[in-house]
């Protein structure tokens, strides 16, 4: 079956620095990818998505990069703030199989 994983389970950054969270996926047929943020005690919150026909997408302070050659997804957060502290996880979906597969998450700690 598919697997979606993260390289680093915990990431600590200084406030104001840029953060990069990585995700590896195994299904080369995946068409769609999402990054979610989950704060303690809350449900996952959509951050940004990207389709397989793109390699980069930017939002407000966030950028998602997709490298289909090595099946790698990353989330970049610019000027990281204390409010960015949370668990971030990626999800992949193949439209053929119509289901999402989720990574286990990376915890981002932002030090003031």
């Amino acid at each position: 079956g598919e697997s979606v994983g993260l390289h680093l389970p915990t990431l600590s950054v200084q406030e104001g620095d840029n953060s990069i969270i990585n995700c590896a996926y195994s299904n080369s047929a995946s068409d769609y990818f999402i990054w979610y943020k989950q704060e303690s005690g809350k449900g996952p919150q959509f951050i940004i998505d990207i389709r397989s026909n793109m390699d980069k997408r930017q939002g407000q302070r966030v950028t998602v990069l997709l490298n289909k050659t090595v099946k790698h997804l990353s989330l970049q957060i610019a000027a990281t703030q204390p409010g960015d502290s949370a668990v971030y996880f990626c999800a992949e979906m193949s439209y053929n199989f119509n289901k999402f597969y989720f990574g286990s998450g990376t915890k981002l700690n932002v030090k003031p």
């Binding site: 979606v4 068409d31 769609y32 999402i34 979610y36 005690g41 809350k42 449900g43 996952p44 919150q45 959509f46 998505d49 996880f89 999800a91 979906m93 439209y95 119509n98 289901k99 999402f100 597969y101 989720f102 990574g103 286990s104 998450g105």
Partner: protein, 114 residues
Amino acid sequence: DVKVTQSSRYLVKRTGEKVFLECVQDMDHENMFWYRQDPGLGLRLIYFSYDVKMKEKGDIPEGYSVSREKKERFSLILESASTNQTSMYLCASSPPGPGADTQYFGPGTRLTVL
């Protein structure tokens, strides 16, 4: 904004009890999902529904059932709760169509089975 609500934030039940977890969404979404979230395992799909009275098994349906009598409401049922069903349960909904994109999540129900 999409709003997905779950009936309880925290729930403690005893082994063998029947447990109902309720989820309601207010965006007229056709698709609704139940996941459980366990440390180190990520979200795992239990059941999902693409329409009223329609349900399909996810990856780990054993020990669970669901009910979708109304479009806005999707219930997860544990017929006889067991300790290995202690987990965080997350409900999600998404716009219509298979392969529909973003899923919107509720706040989660943390269930403890003693």
